[in-house]
């Protein structure tokens, strides 16, 4: 790595965090609102979790919405039936998503490529049907209601994150930062380097004595923990958990966010999520046919932007 590139990276990193920290101040003048920024953070974290597997291990999971939705239901049920505590609900959501991922992951890590994608989609749908049918617990088609995020209680003082959108934004940003740091830490570790080795040349990695299946299983499980956490945040954001959040079309949204932003980069999925969320918000407000436009977006990204926005920018910079 040359000195110039290192400096550029630092500047980019500083710019990203500055933009995120100041979002409640610059978004409203541009026509946004704070809750939209929170949505971007949460869905961005989910897309980054998908990309942890897709972009850095090279394994195509198309069923990650299941673990996202499980995180949401885990958090919602914990708030509703266990205890009115926001941190507890986050932990519950993360555990539910992660453990489900660990169990199912063990069943599917031996598959590759399209077969892996199909099996992940199909298994993801199991949870959709459970949430849809088991209405006495999950609320069925109407979704899980009757819970709301609780103030953060620190004993001497408490922070209201329910009615104050800005406080909640900063709370989510803190959670996002912790998760992103954990993700970055894993990717820089020898384990993360091994993931990339598997992506680049699985056969060679195997010949070097790397237990490929076990690594993929761990990466799959970790990414399910991350996305379960994102799902829990999503439930807190909406005070609501929706079976649609478990559906494979939600997985498709996550994957397109990752691809649109740039699969090979750490921050790409966040950028993709921002573009996607804002576009969806805007399109659904101006046309009833927004679904066609989102579909068109998928087609255009695949045909003309397969490297994603950050990939394209990076190429320009390097050229």
């Amino acid at each position: 790595m040359t000195g110039g590139e290192g400096a550029r990276k630092l500047i980019a990193l500083g710019a990203i965090w500055a933009a995120l920290l100041l979002a409640p101040y610059w978004m409203p003048p541009l026509g946004g609102y704070t809750a939209l920024g929170t949505r971007v953070l949460v869905l961005g974290l989910a897309a980054m979790s998908v990309n942890f597997l897709l972009g850095f291990t090279g394994v195509l999971s198309f069923g990650h919405a299941a673990y996202f939705g499980l995180g949401a239901y885990g958090a919602g049920l914990a708030l509703k039936f266990l205890a009115p505590s926001t941190p507890l609900s986050l932990i519950c959501g993360m555990l539910v998503g992660g453990i489900a991922g660990a169990v199912l992951g063990a069943l599917i890590v031996r598959r590759r490529g399209v077969y892996f994608a199909m099996v992940t989609i199909a298994f993801g749908q199991v949870f959709y049907y459970i949430a849809f049918q088991w209405s006495s617990v999950t609320g069925g088609d109407d979704g899980l209601r009757g819970f709301s995020r609780q103030p953060l209680d620190f004993g001497v003082f408490s922070i209201d994150i329910l009615s104050n959108a800005e406080n909640f934004y900063y709370f989510v940003l803190l959670c996002f930062a912790l998760a992103a740091a954990a993700m970055g830490f894993v990717l820089r570790s020898p384990f993360g380097r091994t993931m990339i080795a598997i992506r680049e040349n699985e056969r060679r990695a195997r010949f070097l004595g790397i237990p490929v299946e076990r690594h993929i299983w761990i990466a799959f499980t970790l990414s399910c923990f991350f996305i379960g956490f994102a799902g829990a945040l999503y439930a807190l954001l909406n005070n609501f958990a929706d079976p649609k959040g478990l559906h494979y079309s939600q997985s498709g949204d996550f994957v397109i966010m990752a691809v649109m932003g740039g699969m090979r980069s750490f921050w790409g999925p966040l950028l993709g999520a921002a573009v996607f969320v804002i576009l969806q918000d805007y399109l659904s407000s101006i046309t009833v046919n927004w679904m066609s436009f989102i579909g068109l977006l998928f087609v255009l990204v695949v045909l003309f932007f397969p490297r994603g926005l950050l990939g394209a920018i990076r190429r320009k910079v390097q050229a």
Binding site: M118, A122, Y129, M291, F298, V299
Partner: protein
């Protein structure tokens, strides 16, 4: 009780036969071109709506004859324009592209034909039940099963005895060698895609006669076909056939004892099969893993 069980097994077989028709098309495209065609359900719906539109002019039989080829032509156009550039790239891209197409199909059918369900008229003699004892078997259901049997037989004859079919099967095993032997692989893929979409269109017309038409019906029928392929083993068409019938019967029987789980049982079946035979019932070592 026996009557009920019999009813549901028959029902399951009929539904299973229908899944088979759809899953075979998906499987053909997946095996040769490594494309998971998410838009397959969309093509099915389009086939159904085309049939709906031309039934007033040509009648049900005319629609049955004309709608599937028209759907195949649409499929061919889309393959040429959008999917062809993606061959040889990561399967992720064709998956995402067809995923987007599925959105467009659903929204456009809603835009053109409206969101509310539409009935499709079938000939009166097919709508009648066969006898009062077997009230649940209407002529149309038998006709559906008959159509599935005929098309599956024709497909297998095509694959086994025609030059195109033999090339498709060879290409599934080793496309590079087939190409080196002088076969036009682009053409082969296009034709194969068209055959797959033809089957989707045919499924659409048949489904329309039984269920009526709705823009969202494609998405609901897609997942069982996926499971049929996984259960049967990716890479094996006979496996797909078996898988489709199996999940149809399984969900039919479950509907008797535990109705709310009739959909979930397919997934349970899939999990069990994957535990015992990770490649699916008839999937073999060395085929698409």
């Amino acid at each position: 009780m026996t009557q009920l069980l019999l009813f549901n097994i028959t029902n399951g077989l009929i539904i299973g036969a229908f899944y088979v028709l759809m899953a075979l098309g998906l499987s053909l495209i997946l095996n040769l071109s490594n494309v998971i065609n998410f838009a397959h359900g969309g093509f099915l719906v389009v086939g159904g709506y085309i049939a709906y539109t031309i039934t007033p002019y040509l009648g049900f039989w005319g629609a049955l004859l004309v709608a599937p080829p028209l759907t195949a032509v649409l499929g061919l156009a889309i393959e040429r324009a959008l999917i062809r550039p993606l061959y040889g790239r990561d399967p992720l891209y064709s998956l995402l592209l067809t995923f987007g197409l599925a959105f467009i199909f659903e929204d456009m059918t809603r835009f053109i034909w409206g969101a509310q369900g539409l009935p499709v008229t079938i000939p009166a003699f097919l709508a009648r039940p066969l006898s009062s004892e077997f009230f649940f078997i209407t002529g149309y259901r038998l006709f559906m099963v008959g159509m599935v049997i005929v098309s599956v037989t024709l497909l297998f004859v095509l694959l086994r005895y025609t030059r195109l079919g033999i090339r498709i099967r060879a290409g599934t095993l080793d496309l590079e060698t087939v190409s080196a032997l002088g076969v036009n692989v682009r053409m082969l893929r296009s034709l194969n895609f068209a055959v797959g979409i033809f089957l989707a269109g045919l499924s659409g017309v048949l489904a329309a006669g039984q269920l009526g038409l709705e823009p969202t019906m494609g998405a609901g029928l897609l997942m069982p076909s996926f499971i049929a392929i996984i259960v049967g083993g990716v890479g094996s068409l006979t496996g797909t056939l078996l898988g489709g019938l199996l999940i149809g019967v399984a969900s039919g029987v479950t509907a008797v004892y535990f109705p709310s789980a009739s959909e979930a049982v397919m997934y349970v079946l899939m999990a069990v099969v994957l535990l015992i035979r990770p490649r699916g019932l008839l999937g073999e070592e060395g085929m698409l893993t």
